[in-house]
């Protein structure tokens, strides 16, 4: 097949670019050990979210010295906890926080504004995403998937507070 030499050069450069892109992602995933969102959260019966131990009382729970689990329910049109009137998610500084989020109605999205913490929340599934927080700060959270006529109302906050300001009753349920 006749291919002009400039076009051959372009073809080779294009393939090199493609291989480079794939290898950067493979490197980040395999070598630096950054996990991507996958099926680790497991399945849940959407009709019985409120009877599930993890989500019957949505909360922030200390599970290790600097490690916390957040159990959150996304529903039309609030995050529990996170949105008013349930109050913000409060976690201490310099902590590792595992978010477990499920929906009890339609598909939602969960994003911490200004960061790359971003995950879909699909009914029947538990979304798991782990976040490293450092200094005290206040973040916005929002639903970034259309979920019904009140979708624009679905926002809230995550507060990262000084360690001595955090106690076990913080950030918990409704």
């Amino acid at each position: 097949m006749d291919i002009h030499r400039f076009e051959k050069g372009w073809l080779v450069a294009s393939l090199a670019l493609i291989v480079l892109f794939i290898s950067t992602v493979a490197y980040v995933s395999a070598v630096t050990g950054v996990d991507m969102v996958d099926d680790s959260g497991g399945s849940i019966d959407v009709d019985n979210v409120t009877e599930d131990d993890r989500f019957s009382d949505p909360r922030v729970e200390q599970v290790g010295e600097n490690e916390y689990d957040v159990y959150m329910v996304a529903q039309q049109f609030v995050f529990r906890p996170g949105s008013e009137p349930f109050g913000p998610v409060r976690v201490p500084e310099n902590s590792t926080v595992n978010f477990y989020i499920t929906s009890q109605d339609v598909v939602h999205g969960f994003q911490i504004v200004g960061t790359n913490v971003n995950v879909m929340v699909v009914p029947g599934k538990v979304s798991e995403i782990t976040v490293e927080f450092d200094e005290p700060a206040e973040y916005g959270i929002l639903c970034n998937e259309y979920c019904g006529s009140g979708h624009a109302e679905m926002g809230g906050n995550v507060e990262v507070v000084a360690r001595d300001e955090w106690n076990t009753t913080d950030g918990g349920g409704s």
């Binding site: 991507m36 969102v37 019904g148």
Partner: protein, 567 residues
């Protein structure tokens, strides 16, 4: 001899398809303007924030633009391209009549289901957006209309393929002409990828919206949607590619650089368009990382046909510029016919497609995708691709094709000459601002992106970004209005002439004789394409379906919300 005189029957079908396409382009454009002004807070035609009307507009903008405008245009231009390049009529006028009627009727039903959302007295509503993610549910008419529309395209594909087979038996051993090759590979790709949407709609969404089943698996229906939902973007783009390969070199005064490479590009689209859909679900729970990685790898290789196209198209235009007396490294650019809107529209669309390609590379990266997923970055991206590379190329193509289909010379030429530039400026403002807003997490698909917290733009302000989105939206609407004005005046005014436009298409510099015959073996490529889809999807779909295929969701019917207002 103009196409309309040579093939009056086919010209009529193409006119109906283009008429429908431009009607939906106009309606979709009104929706776009309403959204641009509403979400930036400049003017709210349709009530306040909590009102669902914004999402009725958003659904109509999406469905009208990316399903009806693009696909009606596609079936029109494919009918023109196939009959022109094979130099024969379509086989069976009754088949042709069936598919165009089915598509029009389907589009009408779906439109009625969407627009019914504005009127509380009607039991119709379909505020589910173009992605129609269950458990959000539309009125059954919405899904039934889409079914008629898509089955119409299947019959159109049969019409083209059977016409080709007749040609083949009359011309054994000849190479498939390039435009016919593009039509056939695309039709095969479409049959493969619409399996996903057909399964989603026929097995799940319709029975569920009629109340025959109570629950469906939301992850499964999402996955079936995206089985179709990425390849459909190539269905939007391919008519633009066809025009860039077949017509743009001629308009610039030259010839296509390489016919063989064009064939390779279309084979790559056939092979790789579908086994990539899971890249829209990088952030989904319930899908293992390995499946996502496979989809990403295929996606990255799908950059190849577009990068090759960039080379071939630019080289062909450069050849044209030099034929017109341009010289030097960049001097040929000035020699190009920038005053011809058919040329300038396609060329500017190509420039924007390059920019859209770069933001698409960001989207495709499994890890950086987290920063921009479902933010305003994403519509910023696809308004460069489908919203300009496709839409502006279609408009430019119409300036050259509508005269051939009606036998009338283009009118208001000076107005038409500025139209692509207004589009380009408007889209530069709007799309760039949307990309920037996405980087600080401003979401897409929302009637009012203001919350109790503030965004932190890396530079500039939220107000400045919003103003660019609004100004860009207004300029785009002005440009669209000019386009429709020029086309309607050309179509319905003026008188028939013998040769309304120079419609000759010169052969490629490097013709099909320079490529191996195996490129024309469509059965082989279709077989490999099916195999790749099975490899990429069989295990993920089995894994997702293991949760139960008719379980996992309630029903959140948007059309019942409308009924409750009455009670």
């Amino acid at each position: 001899m103009a196409y309309v005189d040579k093939r009056p029957l086919e010209a009529r079908v193409v006119r109906v398809a283009f008429g429908a396409a431009f009607l939906f382009l106009g309606l979709g454009g009104i929706g776009g303007l309403i959204q641009a002004l509403h979400r930036t807070g400049y003017y709210r035609f349709i009530g306040e924030v909590t009102d669902g009307n914004y999402y009725t507009v958003l659904t109509s903008h999406g469905v009208f633009m990316v399903l009806f405008f693009t696909i009606f245009f596609l079936v029109g231009i494919f009918t023109w391209a196939l009959t022109r390049s094979l130099d024969r009529d379509l086989n069976n006028p009754r088949v042709t009549k069936y598919w165009i009627t089915s598509m029009c009727f389907g589009a009408l039903l779906t439109s009625a289901a969407i627009i019914g959302g504005f009127f509380n007295a009607l039991p119709l509503k379909a505020n589910v957006l173009y992605t129609m993610y269950a458990p959000l549910q539309a009125h059954p008419l919405y899904y039934i209309g889409l079914t008629l529309f898509v089955t119409g395209t299947w019959v159109a594909g049969y019409d083209w393929i059977s016409t080709y087979l007749r040609w083949r038996s009359d011309n054994p051993g000849e190479r498939i002409p390039l435009m016919a090759f593009m039509v056939l590979t695309t039709a095969l790709m479409w049959y493969i990828t619409t399996i996903g949407i057909a399964a989603e709609v026929l097995l799940f969404l319709i029975p569920w919206s009629l109340g025959l089943v109570n629950e469906i698996n939301p992850t499964l229906t999402r996955t079936l949607f995206w089985f179709f939902g990425h390849a459909v973007v190539y269905f939007w783009l391919i008519p633009a590619y066809l025009l860039w390969y077949a017509v743009l070199p001629k308009l610039s005064g030259g010839r296509l650089f390489s016919d063989p490479l064009a064939r390779v590009v279309f084979i790559l689209f056939l092979l790789l368009s579908t086994p990539v859909g899971i890249h829209h679900q990088y952030l989904d729970p319930g899908i293992p990382e390995g499946f996502k990685f496979v989809a990403m790898t295929n996606t990255m290789f799908l950059l190849l046909p577009s990068l090759l196209t960039a080379f071939t198209v630019v080289a062909s235009i450069e050849h044209g510029g030099r034929q017109r007396g341009g010289s030097g490294y960049l001097g040929w650019l000035r020699a190009l016919p920038w005053k011809n809107p058919a040329f300038s529209g396609m060329a500017l669309a190509g420039v924007m497609f390059a920019a859209g390609g770069f933001s698409g590379m960001i989207n495709a990266g499994m890890n950086i995708n987290y920063l921009i997923h479902n933010t305003l970055w994403v519509p910023g991206h696809f308004h460069l691709t489908v919203g300009t590379a496709s839409a502006l190329t279609f408009m430019a193509g119409a300036y050259w094709l509508v005269p051939q289909l009606t036998g009338k010379k283009l009118v208001s030429k000076r107005l038409a000459a500025v139209q692509p530039f207004i589009w380009f400026i408007g889209m530069t403002l709007m799309s760039n601002a949307m990309h920037r807003a996405g980087l600080f997490s401003m979401p897409r698909r929302v009637s009012d992106p203001t919350y109790s917290f503030d965004y932190s733009p890396a530079f500039g302000t939220v107000g400045e970004i919003n103003s660019q989105i609004a100004i860009g939206g207004v300029l785009l609407t002005v440009s669209l209005g000019i386009f429709l004005y020029v086309i309607v005046r050309t179509w319905f005014g003026g008188s028939r002439v013998e040769n309304p436009v120079d419609s000759e298409l010169p052969p490629a510099l490097s013709g099909p004789e320079h490529s191996p015959r195996i490129l024309d073996n469509l059965k082989l490529w279709a077989g490999i394409a099916v195999l790749l889809v099975i490899l990429a999807y069989a295990v993920p779909i089995g894994y997702i379906a293991a949760d139960g295929i008719y379980s996992g969701s309630g029903t959140y019917p948007t059309f019942i919300e409308a009924l409750e207002v009455l009670i």
